[in-house]
């Protein structure tokens, strides 16, 4: 019997759940505690934002909101590894990655507050907006990567998708296209174990989600998604490979959704408490805090001070969000086409007229 092909998928982890280093071969960036510290502070800021956003929804000041609780290492790892010229195609949860790229918390709130203007955000103008139809952003990223390749630009397109989204046909299509054209494309499958109520094991018979990349001949790796160092290292590697013209990668970032799916969901209906409790012992902040404290670059006092600063910043953003007046009724007409077609102009007039009567 001849063998047609063999494959091996690595698992990347540096930091244990207890905050101890598991490996000696730290990547360069991680040898500088200041770099890690800055990233850790970003993770804390995202968490402060997230807590506040959920509270806003509960008090009726925000629409449905998708929490990022527990995803901080994955999101900050992705965002911080990218260059500004790269393109990020997020799903609807990767605020950490976006903040690092310049998106403001007030813009996230505006979007979930029912206002398209949140998508006209302060991040890179070429970044994609939040994407609700699961997985479709992966193909947009592949298309962006194709544009970069055709124009010979040293840029990479990065798409984020969930474990659920890894079943989506668009995700497979993006993997296939990236392999066929050798695109500078990195797909981050953020496996938080749940797609609303459907557990990871019900999505697919595949042992890892990383191996979906084999279907397209991409580089595949599974990463501890709660380990910031691992995420960042895997991203650095994938981005470098892509930028050098060596093609696309699939990174499975294994993490856990510590929150409900969104504020419209009640995870207690389908998810055992013990599982959530166990997941809290593996969450990304604790281990990083332990590690940095062990290195002597972080302390409880510093954390308290920083948390206060986070809350101050978040409050400022919330206030800015709440102060945004609703858009004029004409807003729904004025951005659909570059020039308003005639028959739509009449409808616009009608809307203005009804507005005047209110």
């Amino acid at each position: 019997m001849r063998t047609a092909a063999t494959f091996e998928i690595d698992y990347v982890q540096y930091l244990g759940e207890d905050g101890r280093l598991l490996r000696e071969d730290l990547p360069d960036f991680a040898r500088d505690p200041k770099v890690l510290l800055a990233l850790f502070k970003q993770m804390l800021l995202v968490r402060a934002f997230d807590t506040k956003a959920v509270a806003l929804q509960r008090t009726g000041k925000l629409g449905t909101y998708a929490s990022c609780l527990g995803h901080e290492a994955a999101h900050i790892g992705i965002g911080s590894a990218m260059q500004i010229d790269d393109v990020l195609a997020p799903s609807y949860r990767e605020y950490g990655a976006q903040f690092v790229r310049g998106v403001k918390p007030r813009e996230v709130l505006l979007y979930w507050g029912g206002d398209e203007r949140g998508n006209h955000f302060s991040g890179p103008a070429h970044d994609y907006p939040w994407c609700v139809p699961i997985g479709t952003q992966c193909l947009h990223a592949a298309g962006a990567a194709l544009a970069f390749k055709l124009r010979d630009e040293p840029r990479v397109a990065v798409a984020c998708v969930g474990d659920g989204g890894s079943s989506k046909t668009d995700t497979y299509a993006a993997i296939n296209a990236a392999g066929a054209y050798g695109l500078p494309f990195v797909l981050c499958i953020i496996n938080n174990q749940w797609a609303i109520s459907v557990p990871r094991k019900a999505q697919t018979g595949a042992r890892t989600l990383a191996q979906k990349g084999l279907a397209g001949g991409l580089d595949c790796v599974q990463v501890d998604g709660n380990d910031l160092i691992a995420v960042r290292a895997a991203m650095d590697h994938a981005l470098k490979r892509a930028r050098a013209g060596h093609g696309g990668s699939v990174l499975e970032l294994v993490t856990y959704r510590l929150s409900d799916h969104t504020t419209a969901d009640d995870a207690r209906r389908y998810r055992p408490d013990e599982e959530v409790k166990a997941a809290w012992t593996r969450e990304p902040l604790v281990r990083m805090r332990t590690y940095l404290t062990g290195l002597g670059v972080w302390s409880e006092a510093e954390e308290l001070a920083w948390r206060e600063e986070c809350n101050r910043r978040v409050d400022e953003e919330v206030n800015a969000y709440l102060a945004v007046p609703p858009p004029p009724v004409t807003d729904m007409f004025d951005h659909l086409y570059e020039t308003l077609p005639l028959d739509l102009a009449a409808q616009r007039e009608d809307a203005i007229e009804w507005e005047a009567r209110r």
Binding site: Y92, W112, V132, G164, G165, K168, A195, T204, L336, R348
Partner: protein, 331 residues
């Protein structure tokens, strides 16, 4: 069944009741979709069904609408009666290929050898302050597709009776559920297994001066408008189209023969919305009955805005009343 033993239920509960009734009576009926199992569906339409009928009758699917559509066609062509759920109207587009090219055509393609008795349940339309892609009125897309039936209930009772009919129908049915009405009010819905016909419009209110033709969430607005108009001495007939395809134009025509005026109301975009078909049939067949031009009160030709503006996009009671007044001002 007496009123004492029939508690009033919401439209979404009527859907659950119909599903449970038919699953009890027909072992080939099964439910599939994202989160329809333990979670009972994002709107709770399938709440309790997995517990009651087992994992083999209520299946969570992988997160892919193409998969749901294709598996459903496969199941239906092999002797099952699948009732598939898509979570929101805005996620139905990846299903169109299997619906248009296969579900709607297997009987015709194979001259009856393989058939496709399936239902696709689609939570439909706006007005619930939902996120992007969760509020779409895309019924027109299905109505030009030969081989499909397109149905939309507008009350708990009709939801029950029409869903039973849809499941029992030997051909594919797109069953659109106005989310705005899911929990808006309750009604007694006897669990008697009585289906409603899939090829008639329902005249919900008799009138003599104008005919309001509508479906889904706007039924309520039209009834309210009729009430307001009645206070001014204007008598509006209200028709719930209910089954858009095939269209029972006779009932609409009969009404317009009587009233001479017609206002069509729907929340979908106006241009090439299904209201156009009704207006077109009036132009073809009711020209001599009409004493005023047909009016359409619809959503604008833009994507329904996120919720800060969505109510300004949707038709309203005031807009309906104003349109009726315009038709009455004529001649």
């Amino acid at each position: 069944m007496s009123a004492e033993t029939t508690p009033a239920i919401t439209l979404i509960e009527a859907i659950t009741q119909a599903l449970a009734y038919e699953m009890t009576n027909d072992p080939s009926v099964l439910v599939l979709g994202e989160d329809v199992g333990v979670n009972g569906g994002v709107f709770r339409a399938t709440a309790g069904l997995q517990l009651r009928f087992g994992m083999d009758r209520v299946l969570d699917t992988p997160l892919d609408e193409t998969t749901i559509a294709g598996l459903t066609v496969g199941l239906a062509t092999q002797g099952m009666r699948p009732v598939a759920e898509v979570q929101f109207d805005g996620f139905v587009y990846p299903m169109l290929d299997h619906l248009v090219c296969h579900a709607a055509r297997f009987r015709n393609r194979t001259r009856g050898r393989l058939t496709c008795p399936m239902v696709l349940r689609v939570p439909w339309g706006g007005g619930i302050r939902a996120p992007e892609h969760h509020s779409e009125a895309n019924e027109a897309m299905f109505t030009n597709v030969p081989g499909l039936r397109v149905v939309m209930p507008s009350s708990p009772q009709r939801a029950y009776g029409l869903l039973l009919a849809a499941i029992r129908d030997p051909d594919p049915v797109i069953y659109l559920e106005p989310k705005r009405l899911y929990r808006q009010y309750k009604e007694e819905v006897p669990d008697d297994g009585e289906a409603l016909p899939l090829d008639v419009c329902f005249v919900l209110r008799d009138g003599t001066d104008v005919t309001l033709v509508t479906w889904g969430a706007q039924v309520k607005e039209c009834l309210e408008a009729a009430e307001q108009l009645a206070a001014e001495g204007i008598s509006a007939e209200v028709i719930d189209v209910a089954t858009l395809k095939p269209l029972d134009f006779d009932t609409i025509h009969e009404s317009v023969r009587k009233t001479g005026r017609c206002v069509i109301v729907h929340e979908a975009c106006r241009t090439a919305g299904f209201g156009a078909e009704i207006a077109a049939r009036l132009a073809e067949h009711a020209m001599y009955d009409l004493v005023a031009p047909v009016e359409r009160v619809t959503g604008y030709d833009v994507p329904i805005p996120l919720f800060r503006l969505e109510m300004k996009y949707l038709p309203s009671v005031e807009k309906i009343v104003a349109a009726v007044r315009r038709t009455l001002a004529v001649s």
